[in-house]
C-alpha cells in the first residue's frame, strides 16, 4: 500500500519516521510545536512525540543552532527548523565556524549528526527576505553537506539519510513545491542516496541540471524541447555539496551540452562551479558552452516581480536553443 503525499506531508512523515525509529532524534525550532511550524511541516508531531522531542525555541537562531551542536555531544540527533531562508543568517557563524569544523577539529573522530531544515526559494509571493536561495554560501563552506530534495519522495528519503550521514547537513526545502501536487510514496521511507544525482528524464542531445523547485522548470523545458525533437536529459542534482562528479561528467560526455538552472544569484553560483568543472575535465566532449539560467544578482524581488527573476521554461528554452545552434 502506498500513500499520495505532497512535499510538506512527506517531510512531516519523514520527520515522524525519524522520531519513531531513532530515540535520539528530536526537533527544534520556532513555532514547530502546537502551531506545527509556519508551513505545518511538523503538524501533529508534538502531540504524538511530546514537547521534549518536538521543541519550541525562543527567537534565537544562533542560540538554538548552537545548542543543537551541543546536543550532538550528548548523543542526540537534532533536526532544526529555520523558519524561512533568510533567518538562517543569524546562525551563520555557528554553522560556518562551528558545525562544519567539528569533525576536522577532532581529527576526523567525531561528526555532528545535525540537520538544519531550511524552507527556501521564491515563487510564493512572500514578503522580503522570505524567498532567498542561500545554498551557494553553505556549499562554499567546508565541512557541511548541502542537500536539496525536489519532490515528496526525495524529501522524505533524503531527510532520513541526512540525519544519519554523520555530517552536518543543510537541508534546503523548496517551499514553493511544498503543496505542488502529490506523489505516491511507500508507507515508510528508505534512506535516500546523498551521493548521487538522479536522471529524472533520459536524453542524448542536451542535459539540463537543476535541483529543488527548478526541476519543474527543467522538466517543462525538456517537454517542450521533445516536441521540437530534441532529446533532453534532466539531472536532479540533489546534493549541492559534494557534487556527483561522475554524473556531471557523464552527462557532458553523453549529451555534449549541459545547461544549469538555479534560483540563487548567478555570480559564483552552482552553475559556475559545474561550468568550470566540465570545461576543466571534459572540454573536448562539449559541443557548446555550458550556459546558466539563474536568479539575478539582486535581492530577490518582491512578489510583483518575482517571476521576472525566477528561471522560467522560456528562459531555459532560449538558452537551450542557443546551445543547440552553437
Amino acid at each position: 500500500m502506498t500513500l499520495e503525499l505532497n512535499m510538506v506531508e512527506a517531510i512531516t512523515r519523514g520527520l515522524s519516521q525519524l522520531l519513531e525509529e531513532d530515540p535520539a532524534a528530536l526537533l527544534l525550532g520556532e513555532d514547530i510545536g502546537a502551531n506545527g511550524g509556519v508551513f505545518r511541516a511538523t503538524a501533529g508531531l508534538q502531540d504524538r512525540f511530546g514537547p521534549e522531542r518536538v521543541i519550541d525555541t525562543p527567537l534565537c537562531e544562533a542560540g538554538f543552532v548552537g545548542a543543537a551542536i551541543g546536543m550532538c555531544l550528548v548523543g542526540l540527533h537534532p533536526v532544526v527548523e529555520i523558519q524561512f531562508d533568510a533567518f538562517v543568517y543569524p546562525a551563520f557563524e555557528q554553522l560556518v565556524s562551528q558545525a562544519g569544523r567539528f569533525r576536522w577539529r577532532t581529527g576526523g573522530a567525531y561528526g555532528l549528526p545535525l540537520v538544519v531544515r531550511l524552507p527556501y526559494g521564491g515563487g510564493t509571493r512572500a514578503p522580503e527576505l522570505h524567498s532567498d536561495s542561500p545554498e551557494t554560501l553553505f556549499s562554499h563552506v567546508p565541512g557541511l553537506r548541502v542537500v536539496v530534495p525536489s519532490d515528496p519522495r526525495s524529501a522524505g528519503e533524503l531527510l532520513l539519510a541526512a540525519s544519519r550521514c554523520g555530517d552536518p547537513v543543510i537541508f534546503l526545502e523548496p517551499k514553493r513545491m511544498y503543496r505542488r501536487g502529490r506523489q505516491a510514496v511507500p508507507p515508510t521511507f528508505v534512506e535516500g542516496d546523498l551521493d548521487h544525482a538522479v536522471v529524472v528524464r533520459p536524453g542524448d542531445d542536451l542535459t539540463v541540471i537543476a535541483y529543488g523547485a527548478m526541476l519543474e522548470v527543467a522538466e517543462g523545458a525538456a517537454e517542450r524541447l521533445a516536441q521540437e525533437g530534441v532529446s533532453t536529459r534532466v539531472l536532479d542534482l540533489r546534493s549541492i555539496y559534494p557534487l556527483d562528479r561522475e554524473s556531471l561528467l557523464q552527462a557532458a560526455e553523453e549529451t555534449g551540452r549541459v545547461l544549469v538552472v538555479h534560483e540563487a544569484p548567478r555570480h559564483c553560483g552552482i552553475g559556475a562551479e559545474v561550468a568550470a568543472l566540465l570545461q576543466e575535465e571534459v572540454a573536448d566532449a562539449l559541443l557548446s558552452p555550458t550556459l546558466r539560467v539563474t536568479g539575478m544578482d539582486l535581492p530577490f524581488p518582491l512578489s510583483q516581480n518575482e517571476d521576472d527573476a525566477l528561471p522560467s521554461v522560456e528562459r531555459v528554452l532560449a538558452a537551450a536553443h542557443a546551445m543547440l545552434e552553437y
Binding site: L59, Y89, S303
Partner: protein, 382 residues
C-alpha cells in the same frame, strides 16, 4: 483572520483593564497607566491634557485603525499579499511617534508598517509594499523613518548607530527602535542595548510585549516575563507601561526622549499589551491559543478604550469621535483602486536600484535607471 472574533453581547462596561481571567493580565500590575486608573483619577489625569492634543492622538489612532482594517480587507480581496495586522497596537505606536519630534528617527518592524503615514507618508506606500510592488518604500530621509525591518531585532543596532552617530555629530536627535517580546531573545537586541548603554546613545528601545511571538508565549520566550527587568543588566532604566493607553505611552516615551536629550543615554520601555489579532493574515491562532480567553483582552482595544476615556473626561463627545473614525475610514475607502492602478515596475528598473552604478552582472540583457512613477513618493528623493 485580520481581526479576532468580536465580543458577543454587550461590551464590558469598564475599559480600565481586561476582563477578569484574561491570560497574562498580571503583567499589567505596576505598569504606568492613565486609562487603567479608577475613573475619577483617570478623569483628573486627563484634564491636564489639552483637548487638541487629545483629539490629535485619537485621530492618529483612528488613522492607523483605518489603515489596518483596510489592509486586512485588501488582503482578503487578494489585492495585497500576506499582511501582519497591528490591530490593538495603535495606541503605543501613535504615542511613540507623537511624543517624539520630526527630526527624531524611527526604526519600525513589519508590525509598524504604517508609522511613516503618521509623518506624512501616503498610506499608498506601505500598501504597495505589501502588494509586493518595488515602489512601496517610503522616503526614509524625508520622514526619518528607516525601511521596514523584517529580520527580527536587526533594527536595534541601526537605531543605536543613528542615535550615537548624531551624538558624535552634536545633532540634537533621538532614535527609537520598535521590537516585540520575541525580539528580546535575539543577539542583536543584546548587542544593541549593551552598545547603547556603553556609548550613552540617545536611543529608546520600545518593546511591545504583546505576550506572543507567533505561537510562542512570552513565558517560553524568557524566564523574566517582565521585559523591562532586562534593562538593569545593561545599566539603563527600564520602564513598564500600559500598551493600550496612548496617554501613558506618550508620557513614558516623552520622558525617555528627554533623558536622551539631556545626555543620559538609552531607555528600555516595555509596553505591556496582548496580541488581539493573529500574527498575520496567514496565521491561525486557534492552533495554539484559547480564542475565548483572548477575547477577555478586547476591552483594552485602543479605539474603544480611548473613546470611552475622552468622553468620560469631557474632552470630546461620542459624536465627534465617531466622526473622526468615519473620516479616517473614508480616507482609505478607495485606496485599493490606487494600489491596483499603480503601474508595475520592470525588473530593469529594480536592477538599477541596487548599486549606485549598476554592475553588468545584474542584468546581462542591459541596464535601465529606476524611475518609480505614480507610486507614492518612494524612492522619489534625489
Amino acid at each position: 483572520m485580520g481581526t479576532p472574533p468580536k465580543l458577543t453581547g454587550a461590551p464590558p462596561s469598564s475599559a480600565r483593564g481586561p476582563a477578569a481571567g484574561a491570560p497574562g493580565a498580571e503583567l499589567l500590575e505596576g505598569a504606568i497607566t492613565v486609562l487603567g486608573l479608577p475613573e475619577p483619577e483617570m478623569v483628573a489625569a486627563l484634564s491636564s491634557w489639552p483637548r487638541e492634543r487629545a483629539l490629535d492622538l485619537f485621530t492618529a489612532i483612528a488613522q492607523l485603525r483605518a489603515f489596518d482594517e483596510r489592509a486586512v480587507i485588501l488582503q482578503r480581496q487578494g489585492r495585497i499579499g500576506t499582511y501582519p495586522t497591528f490591530y490593538g497596537e495603535e495606541a503605543v505606536q501613535v504615542a511613540s511617534v507623537r511624543a517624539l519630534q520630526n527630526q527624531d528617527w524611527l526604526f519600525p518592524t513589519y508590525r509598524q508598517t504604517a508609522v511613516a503615514t503618521l509623518r506624512g507618508c501616503p498610506p499608498l506606500v506601505p500598501l504597495l509594499m505589501w502588494r509586493g510592488h518595488p515602489g512601496g518604500w517610503h522616503d526614509v530621509m524625508k520622514y526619518r523613518v528607516a525601511p521596514i525591518c523584517v529580520p527580527v531585532a536587526t533594527n536595534f543596532p541601526h537605531a543605536v548607530g543613528a542615535a550615537w552617530g548624531a551624538k558624535l555629530r552634536h545633532q540634537e536627535l533621538v532614535a527609537l527602535a520598535y521590537g516585540g517580546d520575541g525580539s528580546t531573545s535575539a543577539g542583536d537586541f543584546h548587542e544593541a542595548c549593551n552598545l547603547a548603554a556603553v556609548m550613552g546613545a540617545p536611543v529608546i528601545f520600545l518593546i511591545t510585549n504583546n505576550q506572543w511571538a507567533i505561537s510562542t508565549p512570552v513565558s517560553r520566550q524568557t524566564k523574566v516575563r517582565r521585559v523591562a527587568e532586562k534593562a538593569a543588566g545593561y545599566g539603563m532604566p527600564g520602564v513598564r507601561v500600559d500598551a493600550f493607553d496612548v496617554f501613558a505611552c506618550y508620557q513614558v516615551v516623552q520622558e525617555a526622549a528627554e533623558r536622551a536629550r539631556r545626555g543620559e543615554g538609552p531607555t528600555l520601555i516595555e509596553a505591556i499589551g496582548y496580541r488581539l489579532g493573529p500574527h498575520g493574515t496567514a496565521d491561525e491562532p486557534s492552533l495554539y491559543r484559547d480564542q475565548i480567553a483572548d477575547r477577555l483582552w478586547e476591552p483594552m482595544e485602543p479605539v474603544r478604550r480611548t473613546r470611552l476615556a475622552l468622553v468620560a473626561a469631557g474632552l470630546a463627545s461620542e459624536e465627534e469621535l465617531n466622526q473622526i473614525l468615519a473620516e479616517a475610514a473614508a480616507e482609505l475607502r478607495d485606496i485599493g483602486d490606487a494600489v491596483e492602478s499603480c503601474s508595475p515596475a520592470s525588473i530593469q528598473e529594480i536592477a538599477g536600484s541596487v548599486h549606485r552604478e549598476t554592475p553588468w552582472e545584474l542584468l546581462p540583457e542591459g541596464l535601465w535607471e529606476p524611475t518609480w512613477t505614480g507610486c507614492g513618493d518612494a524612492g522619489g528623493a534625489p
